[in-house]
């Protein structure tokens, strides 16, 4: 790597570091506790996902968030967290690790990173009231099993709520 390249890399790194990031995260509901982390790694040791992927390490995510390396939030890594709360139960510092991961995802969404499956959920909820789009054969098949019809949600209510939570324009195909 020549001198120019080194300079460029350092500059890029510098741009990726956001010293305000940790303050931002502290203000997102669920993010309040993350600064107590002392990197013992208990969360990663108990994480069922970390056993099968190299990409996701809860303690690393928290470390990078503290440093203000925001790329971590905008990568797929945090979305690998399944919110099983194993880490939250065991953290010796009482950090709500799963809630911190959720807060990071919420932050990513606010800045425009919404994964496709989440767009799908939003679209389905706003169109049917439920998160999955249930095939019509399964809806009509309920009768033959002696099951009552599915709920019919007042969709205008949900639209209203989505507008208030500022997510109504995050559905599938909308950018």
């Amino acid at each position: 790597m020549n001198k120019l390249e080194v300079q460029r890399t350092v500059k890029e790194m510098y741009h990726r570091v956001d010293p305000e990031f940790k303050h931002k995260l502290l203000r997102v509901p669920g993010g309040e506790t993350f600064k107590l982390c002392y990197q013992c790694g208990t969360c990663t040791a108990t994480c069922p996902i970390a056993r099968f992927t190299d990409v996701f390490r809860p303690n690393k995510v928290i470390h990078l968030a503290k440093l203000g390396i925001r790329n971590v939030v905008y990568s797929d890594a945090v979305w690998l967290c399944v919110n099983c709360y194993s880490c939250t139960e065991l953290c010796p510092q009482g950090i709500k690790v799963a809630d911190v991961m959720r807060a990071l995802k919420n932050l990513a969404v606010r800045e425009g990173y919404v994964p496709e499956f989440s767009r799908e959920f939003i679209t389905n909820i706003l169109n049917t009231g439920l998160a999955y789009s249930i095939p019509s054969s399964r809806i009509s098949g309920r009768g033959s099993l002696g099951l009552p019809p599915l709920p019919k949600t007042r969709l205008e209510d949900l639209k209203r709520l989505a507008e208030m939570a500022k997510i109504s324009n995050l559905g599938r195909g909308e950018r």
Binding site: T88, R102, K105, F121, G129, A165
Partner: protein
Amino acid sequence: MANMRYALYLGCMIPFREISYEASARRVAKDLGLELHEMPDANCCGLPIDPVSHEMMMLLAARNLCIAERMGLDVMTLCNGCTCTLMKVNKMLKQDRDLRKQINSQLSSIGMEFQGKINVKHFAQILSEMGFDTLKKLITRPLNPLAIAGFTGCHIFRPSEFMEVEDPKDPSLLDDLIELTGAKSVSYVDEFQCCGAVEGSIDDRIPLFLAREKLRNAKRAGADAMVTLCPACHQVLEGNQRLVERRFSEFYDMPVLHYPQLLGLAMDIPPEELALRDLRVRPDKILSSLRKASLH
């Protein structure tokens, strides 16, 4: 006397892929004397939206709670995810006055108000509240020959801050419920670990690895079948089982029952009324061993 009237909250996953859970739960509830009322205007519990917007999750959950409050009934859930979300938001809004004020000001635009009058319970928790002595009297055909590996799932006992379990490191609820039916409850490695269901949307490889571990560990521990309390866990362990077998060139053929199906068998409800035929991994082996046992 335990409360016997509930508003039944189904959620999304059950009508989408696990109707056999709903059918068997309703059938068993009838014989238990539980009175279930439909929630005709209910929506998604909110859990799938939590990563996108915590606020929207609370609004969706609160709307469901308001509907139940209007009906004047406690909520009975079948899915662990719905249980956790509704129970958590119910408690948060009951305890945190500022949060309640904020959510209520938003709900007022759709003509609703959270008042904090009801509770949320999973079917399994309602059963344990009814008391094992009461339930024992209904067990007319004990499942003695069976060894069952229970898979509790996460959200019925985590986060323990909200979920009210005696010992979050070793919850005994499902163990007790299995022993109630007369079957032997088998413990195995990682039985309280996550199934990985939600993972499918971002990396569909990982749930297969997680399911494989549980199936292998349960099989090694000598289980004839597994039992779940949650449609998502069931989907991973049972719905994906053939995929797991193909991916790793292994053979499990491990029936995974919804808990009400197991309880129903022990209450001598005919298998066809428990939607056992809708299972993708056929439970024929355990049914025939039960038949053999009853001949002796």
